[in-house]
Subunit: 319 residues, 6 copies
């Protein structure tokens, strides 16, 4: 049995946000956390008891150590991180909105250490330490080198017998829809489980329909066995081979929505790895809802707390 | 006329909570307040202008002094506190949730100074300084000694002519429903006014019905003249002798729900002492709602602010 | 072309508020910002790209400098401020409520430097530097001298060819409705654009009706060409000559409602100055809603953010 | 035996200070505490176990209640406070310096409720509830009415058999040295124990000498039996009748020096009341030093902590 | 080669401290960190690049997870922790003093999960995963069971070929000097490297002399090959066999002295493991000084920062 | 008379620092201010009443607006800023040390908007709006384009009759000493007033001597009329033509030393512009000391506070 259930890699940034719905212009302090789509998913999987390793290329300074240390803190292995003297740590600013004011993410991630990552920088034998690989479209958007590295990773994973999941995670501030579509399409032959938010299906693939039909059409177009369509305000839908599954969204009162999709992916991967995608959808919905109640990108809950929501537990006071 | 309108005793703890919906695992600071069911009720009564004394057994250190000083600050006398070198100050942690995540209370109150309290430690003559005694089931749950002390207290109070109120306040993390029921039943002959939340009626006494019928059944079963059933999301109901009274819940936007029941008890006791239980129910509903809008266990409002809500005042901006 | 599109004057105070819905009685820290109706409007106009100057009489100390510096920070000129060794800086405390608890403003502004301001203290030639003058009833309420100064200002403005706007902004904690009505009535011959909140129309002028009819009746009674009636929970209405206009309220999730009306005024003045009052109403509704999502009196947003709301943009996450 | 060992009255203000050596101009939060010379001394005496009551005229609002509640919290009775609808609560701002930047107090206390206090507002029978009265020159500086009230108080105290202490506490931002000298001189016939800081002896009485000689000269000039001269960086000196006493200053590392003199006064009064002025000087030196290590005006320590310093205990870590 | 260079075990607590030199009585927030002598040493060793594992018996709740996660964050393995449903997490409060006010540690660690630890609870084979074992007297003080467990550990370690270090770390608030001496003496036959602070030598063993002579006398009395005497304000001294070594204390400006001794131990163990005790003393002095400049028990620095101090680098600004 | 006394340009960054001597690795919040050598000097000059304008190339987003707004707040004009969609806002992190731990600046300023600035981007006619130009070596270090722009600026300034000052401000983390020397040497023919810290004289020009002799040697080598040598712990020295001047360092208790040199430059420029360099040295010493007592890069004091230190005022408490 490999050492880790899941390996993932990508960019994890310092996340800086004005407290209490403030603006960058009128704050004197910033809450300082860490976040990145893949490590968010890694943390959520670790909370479920999965053995998870995340890696990236990190600058060899206090900022890089902060990212690595935080992930260790939440239960994720970082022993495979590539430490570098080149490049900086990516940052992102979040200003939390309130309707009608949107929540605004301002990326400051150009020239990050990981953006220079090339396939040759990686000792691909590390893939053999894991049973499953999870990657996302965001990493592909960072640089052509990064896109090549992701492609290399999914090929290597496939050839070493790992299952592979991929989240489209289109970020319009990082690249164009066309480049996203072209790049991702090359990965699909090696992917077993594809996540695609409703909005990305529309923006990147021009598919606008009910979640189930979006999943079916993506399955046909991209030839991936299992496709999960998230991001609907009503339910999450999946196709797996000929099966069609769905699970209702779990309602929540939002505290911090960033990372909800990543937490949801973790729940779905958890079920997928157990060969029970329906369970995955239920866990994913519960975890995406729970994430939105917690400040920070990461799902800092116990497995028992997740299962209480999966089982429809009360949100009253427990004492 | 005795020096105090109301005397109460019980355990008041340091309350530690991560700010801004954070988790214990991911916070570096804790808000530090004080709280305990009986002292919460004492503070709320003091806010109404009632002369109130609260006592307990407190450790003779800065933590004990903090509790006593805070209660003085909110208007409650603590001159009857028993200072002790034995035992610690109980603590409790609260992680504020947001649906579907519950608010979680983690007690850390074993071996508290008050848990060692025995009837003989108390100079029961102090009861003569008050017109009314209020106690709750929580104190009974702390230790067998404590349960004996509460029993002793209600007997002594009765014999000295005080009226007595008692809130079931069942805490499943502290004791079993059976022990709660058995213990409380012994107190009932000395109680004039019983508070029982809907959930406790079900869990402890196996009674599940509308608030009014729950009150009537508890009245019959426990032979207490006045029974108030709280904790419904619709209305509070009471029986007093043959009368049945009710008052609508006052809707609120929740900031911190801890202590809402205790504040409600205070309003009801206030009316009860004036011989006007209907008024008590109205005050109780207003005060329970107001409490939920204020951070901390205690109801830090003025009497005028309470009466504005009782009279249906606007919640707009006042300037 | 004059140097400034808009000039305004009035009292700007230090604003002190307990964080996180706390009370003055139970807080150990106060958030410390600045705010005043006229400068709030000035800031919002500056955010739209308008060139704006605000002045007042400020104490020549660190508190006065703080007010001036903050307004500079948000884009408002303060070169015309009259610095004084007489009087103090006005303060106000805000305790943010949550239904049923109202938000409470406690003024502490007696004997402020500006309350001693007399018409002779001002070099009225400064009015020639602006195309429009905006004032409010609050300044009139500060002292008889201040009321005279406002009257002098609107007369001077009119005679120098500026257009003039006036917001009734009745504050019952500062003066009586009768004094407000008598004082304001004297200003009206010099006013082109009158703002009147629904509640003020009722309290000050005894007019209670739909927003449109209130506007029409005020127009007739006060003989002002353009009257905008704000403060309805449904829509804002305006009459301009014979025209009747309206714009729906923009719904929001409230973070801090103080200053919403002032931000709305700015949007309306913006349209008014462009000769397009209908646009003004739309901007005003958007800006009043946006203000409520931002901590502090002032509307710290970009013009693009305002226009996104005017155009019905999404309040989701932008990344 | 009277109910209280010591009664004192004066003005207690809200104290607002930027955290971490910040300036008013560049802070967004203010630490919010309470402080006033007489109540500072009252708190320090309560910490020594003395029964103390403080009174003033407080505005009947949340700010006034905050002051009263804080003093209750620290162990001082406030049952004799006169609640008023006239006047405001005085404030003061402190910007903590660091050499060469001085610590700057900016008073904002004009028109405070207590500044309107007249002798007739007080039921002087309350003096009979105490054995000793302590007042200071600051209260005399607030208004001519206040000066009359202090004069009335010391006369009444004398006639009712209380001992009386008085601290010159000259504040050049409140009044002139001449007015201070003239006013204080009228009080001296009724004073048993006079505190005079070195600087005040120079500024108010034109006496510049060693502490002991300053004390002797003040004794001769003002005809007070016991004079304590504080504020030297070396030692505190006292004359009592023909005796001359002194005690070395206790060295400290300063955290917040405000209130050090008031804490010192408390120690000296404590010894004076026990008929042991030498002990008072030792306690005073220890308490003045301790106060400077604690944020806030008030000496929040236990009696045991004071005695450890009196006895020369270590300032290392205790565990 | 074993997996870990150093294994250690003991109790790590939640550490709660009022910010900015405040007192427990007058603070509304507590800084919330973690700390314990053995884990502090573990963190400091990890910072030097040593592979370190720490274990204890932790309660299976969010508080226990917080401790484990924090240590992971700083680079310490916790895979050998024994998770338990019995007992609580120990806490300690620190009030940071300033001369003449001492820093006060208030322990609240009775009935902690680890205090129930017995030798049989441990799978002693884990010792084979490490080359060195470090323990301290504090753990022995927690309970007789704990003392037995420590004794068992050093015996097992010795028999498995590990080197063993032991820090007396006498805590007078936890046990008597006599019990400490008796207990520790039983451990000494299995100890290679003994740390003894000057004060402990005096209090526990009645030895008061220069650091070098204290070390020599302890060596003779306890028959330990290597003895290091810390806690002098001038230098640290060691005897190793017949050698006598010393290293000057590195001067520092104190921010938070808690954990300085533990960090110093780490430096000394580091040298000891390299067979270069003199280097260890230099590293220990540097690390003890550095620790005092960092808030929290743990030495959060890089190895390069430690070596800069060892090499006498400047403490100016680096940019 | 030109509109501004002084123009300056350079890079101003967001400054992020852990509060209370924390480390980046162990903080959850960052204090968020702004700072840059040239704008720091600009703010300090504005505090002296000088009319100052600062410009740069700023990104057209909330971070850029924050920088501009902050400078407006402190009294500096930013109307000449070039707003850009290219490049990011530079950041820098500061971890405040305490001996022996150094204060560490971590720059994160690559690819900033200003680093792309070329001479052709600037409308050099703006120089005619000022009487004096101040620049520093840091801007030259940002990029070759920037170095060209600075060279262009000093030439243009000279040709338009402005006086020019230049601070070497060598930053070893940005470029090599050789590149610094070569670049700066080309600027010197256009410079009237050169600032050179002692360390830079050594590192960049290989001159190590007393401040006065360093100044004389630099004057000879670089052929600048007036050279001021700062950064000695004893005194600042200057040569002006044949004159040699000096002024003692003003001692301070450090709170935040960043920006001290920039504040000192402002004082010296102030005197230089008045034709009184000796006065400049005195002001510079006072201002450099004062800056170190204030959190943040900028000298937020009043002119009166500066003059009090120049005149040797007390650093006691002022009330």
């Amino acid at each position: 049995m490999p050492q880790f259930d899941v390996m993932t890699f990508g960019e994890t940034m310092l996340r800086l946000s004005p407290p209490s719905h403030g603006r960058i212009e009128n704050t004197d302090t910033l809450d300082c956390r860490t976040g990145g789509s893949e490590s968010n998913t890694a943390v959520a999987l670790a909370r479920l008891g999965r053995r998870v390793t995340w890696w990236s290329r990190l600058p060899n300074n206090s900022l890089g150590r902060k990212v690595s240390g935080q992930l260790n803190r939440w239960g994720v292995d970082t022993s495979k991180v590539i430490w570098s003297d080149e490049g900086r740590l990516g940052l992102y600013f979040v200003e939390f909105g309130s309707p009608p004011r949107p929540t605004i993410v301002t990326y400051d991630r150009t020239n990050s250490a990981v953006s220079y990552l090339k396939p040759d920088d990686v000792d691909w034998a590390i893939l053999s330490d894991a049973a499953h690989l999870h990657v996302t479209g965001i990493t592909c958007a960072l640089s052509p080198n990064c896109a090549e590295t992701v492609l290399h990773a999914v090929k290597e994973a496939k050839s070493r017998g790992l299952s592979v999941s991929f989240d489209v995670n289109y970020r319009s501030k990082l690249w164009s829809a066309k480049r996203c579509r072209d790049t991702i399409s090359r990965m699909m032959p090696y992917v077993d489980l594809l996540f695609c938010p409703m909005g990305d299906a529309d923006n990147v693939f021009g598919i606008k329909d009910s979640p189930g039909l979006v999943a079916r059409r993506l399955q046909g177009q991209l030839r991936v066995d299992t496709v999960v369509v998230t991001g609907s305000s009503d339910h999450v839908a999946a196709v797996q081979g000929r099966d069609l599954l769905r699970s209702d969204i779990v309602r929540c009162r939002e505290v911090d929505r960033v990372g909800a999709g990543d937490a949801g992916d973790a729940g779905i991967i958890h079920g997928f790895l157990d060969g029970d995608l329906q369970k995955g959808l239920k866990y994913g919905s519960a975890m995406a809802a729970l994430k939105q109640t917690i400040p920070g990108d990461e799902l800092i809950v116990s497995k028992a707390e997740i299962e209480a929501v999966v089982n429809g537990g009360s949100s009253g006071i427990q004492r």
